[in-house]
Point group: C2
Chain length 406, copies 2
């Protein structure tokens, strides 16, 4: 099926970064421009009504309307250009209408930069109980208080429009891994039907609605999903259904089969993947946007990412260390505090431990994507990848595993 | 008994604020100067090797080597000039020798301003199990792991010297309230004997050792304690044994009987008292320094101090409020966030809730002492007290109670 051009979006590679959308693009404010490529890697800029996002970009996750443990100023300081918030969580608590009365997401959170909201499709599958799914929508019980809810594509779009993010997502059917081919085929058809309904329900030109690709490891199903979504001409495409427990080989295979089918001039967003290897694996396969709760969640559990691999901040080895967690890091934590103090804060269960570790991990991830972007611009993506991984894996304490969508 | 002038301290009202102690006071770096009085209230400056503290001052409490939930930069932003850390806690964890290897308290915590350490006398009484006290010292079990320890006046001074604070406290015997006159008499004699031992053990001229007054509500015991400590000529005096559950009337009576006995030119520190009424009650009775865990602890429990009394941030009334917690407050929280968002953060158990509330409460307390100081300088302490309390009590949700020493 080929739908008409959406009335409100025109993504245009010719739009420059400094472009004032309100004059020439009164109805949207979005553009995506690729400024350099290197192999499969792309360096670009996604412009939104709340500012520009240089890609490849990592999107810190603020599940309940706050990136856990940090302020908006600290997010800026570590290099954050866009954050993700979960429509599912805010719908349940405090309620999207409450967010609207508090001035919308940006004002409520005191974050003036771009925001992306996830639709709730994935969260209903991963968090809620008593889920009943049919072509109309999903009935589920709140993971907070057990209350009964029915979410439809139209309602998800309505919630996301009320929240007011810059980028909003289609409501998708995301089967658990592993899913049978039959269940996945059903999921793809439902995701496509719902994408059409989301698109028709979507009435806010200042919010870009991205499509979400499902299909799991079934190549033909995924191709069917990509093809139909591309026909609907969304301003951006997310690759969903990965990082649910499948092997890295499957992840890579799916990415390699999927990104070549997507339009070159639209941003590609890989949902829920975010260890350093994932960024490198994704970027070299043509991905532009990544989000993951892992860096912030790991931080609160005393796991720090460093240029020489992951470390556990509570290890006795650090008791008397007056060195920063990562001497090569430029973050607030590494500039001002020792590993010994950080260990003490974690052992003593002090809030400052979570704060300092979160700042460090976010900076590590955002600096990594900055370095990846730079290596693309300089035409050195492969050599950067090699030298980064050599150092990073050399002293890593354990094997990386992917932690899943927020 | 009249001891010789301590070799290292000379507190001199003539020393000016901008005075470089290293040239003229090579051995100490301390001075206390009173610049204005109003009734019983005193406005002054306590100079230390790590900077000046304008008095009356509120000292935020960083029990385990961090003021819970905030960074040193945030402490500065809210107007903090000196912080308190507990020697007892750091002795047990991570160990004072570890703190020394991490560069001492100031470097470890990244706090370049003045620090005061409490001696551990009070904490052993309030926190530890299996306490055996005799004239030699105190045997106790750690509240963390049950390990057995024996602390003496000499050991407490050694620990505090190793930690490296600017102001350190004598190791005192602080009986629980209510204590019999017999037990209190024993406590006073022991506190005095230990004060002498602390003074003799004290070998670091850059750390000012304050005496602690005990005696509870027994006037003659307290007079005995004050008189003997004043004879020992400490550079500052703390009033201990209050805020342990006694009535406000007793607190006021004790203060009124005690401060007139203390030398005018030495700072007076009221330990562990810190609701707004306490500051006003203390300042009008001649107190210069206050510390209390209450503002920060209350903040983490969603209790905010405002110009119109205390509020509970989780109250349903605030659900849709787009107003700041205190429209008259100039803190980061009130400038940037709504009561509705803060309520959401508390209900959702987000770390940011504790952060924002702590910043607000600290700023409220520090601004209050700034205003008190200003009113002393302007000769309007009583009228400030009246107008502050009228507004503060008008809409207060509950009766103030004092929360005790840290």
């Amino acid at each position: 099926m080929k739908l008409a051009q959406p009335r409100s979006f025109r993504l245009d590679r010719q739009l420059s970064l400094g472009y004032d959308y309100r004059m020439a693009e009164p109805e949207s404010g979005f553009s995506f421009e690729i400024s350099a490529t290197c192999g499969g890697g792309r360096a670009g800029v996604l412009s939104t009504p709340h500012g520009a996002v240089r890609t490849p970009a990592f999107i810190p996750v603020g599940t309940q309307g706050t990136v856990k443990a940090v302020t908006p100023e600290e997010l800026r300081d570590v290099g954050t250009e866009i954050i993700l918030v979960n429509a599912y969580h805010l719908y349940l608590r405090p309620g999207h209408e409450v967010v609207r009365r508090l001035g919308g997401l940006h004002k409520m959170m005191n974050w003036e930069g771009p925001i992306l909201t996830d639709s709730g499709g994935f969260q209903i599958h991963s968090l809620s109980a008593l889920r009943k799914i049919n072509d109309g929508g999903v009935e589920f019980r709140s993971h907070i208080d057990g209350s009964l809810h029915f979410l439809t594509p139209e309602k998800s779009i309505g919630i996301q429009e009320t929240l007011g993010a810059d980028v909003i997502m289609c409501f998708d059917d995301c089967p658990s891994y592993p899913a049978s081919e039959e269940r996945m085929a059903e999921g793809v058809e439902r995701t496509l039907a719902w994408a059409g309904r989301c698109r028709r329900a979507h009435g806010t030109p200042h919010q870009a609605l991205f499509g979400i690709i499902q299909g799991g490891e079934y190549r033909s199903l995924r191709e069917r999903c990509v093809s139909a979504l591309v026909d609907m001409d969304f301003p951006g495409y997310a690759i969903g259904g990965l990082s649910l427990g499948e092997s890295k080989e499957i992840t890579h295979e799916v990415l390699e089969e999927t990104t070549p089918l997507l339009p070159e001039n639209k941003p590609r967003y890989l949902m829920g993947m975010g260890v350093p290897e994932d960024f490198l694996d994704g970027v070299t396969r043509g991905v532009d946007l990544f989000d993951c709760v892992f860096p912030t969640r790991a931080a609160r559990n005393a796991m720090l990412f460093t240029s020489r691999g992951r470390i556990h901040a509570k290890k006795a080895d650090f008791t008397e260390s007056d060195q920063p967690p990562d001497p090569e890091c430029d973050c607030y934590t590494c500039r001002n505090y020792s590993s010994g103090y950080l260990r003490h804060l974690f052992i003593a269960k002090e809030i400052l431990a979570s704060r300092l570790a979160t700042i460090h991990n976010l900076r590590f991830f955002l600096r990594l994507v900055e370095q990846i972007r730079e290596s693309i611009v300089e035409g050195k993506l492969e050599s950067f990848r090699g030298s980064f991984l050599e150092k990073y894996r050399g002293e890593s304490y354990d094997q990386e595993t992917s932690p899943g969508r927020a």
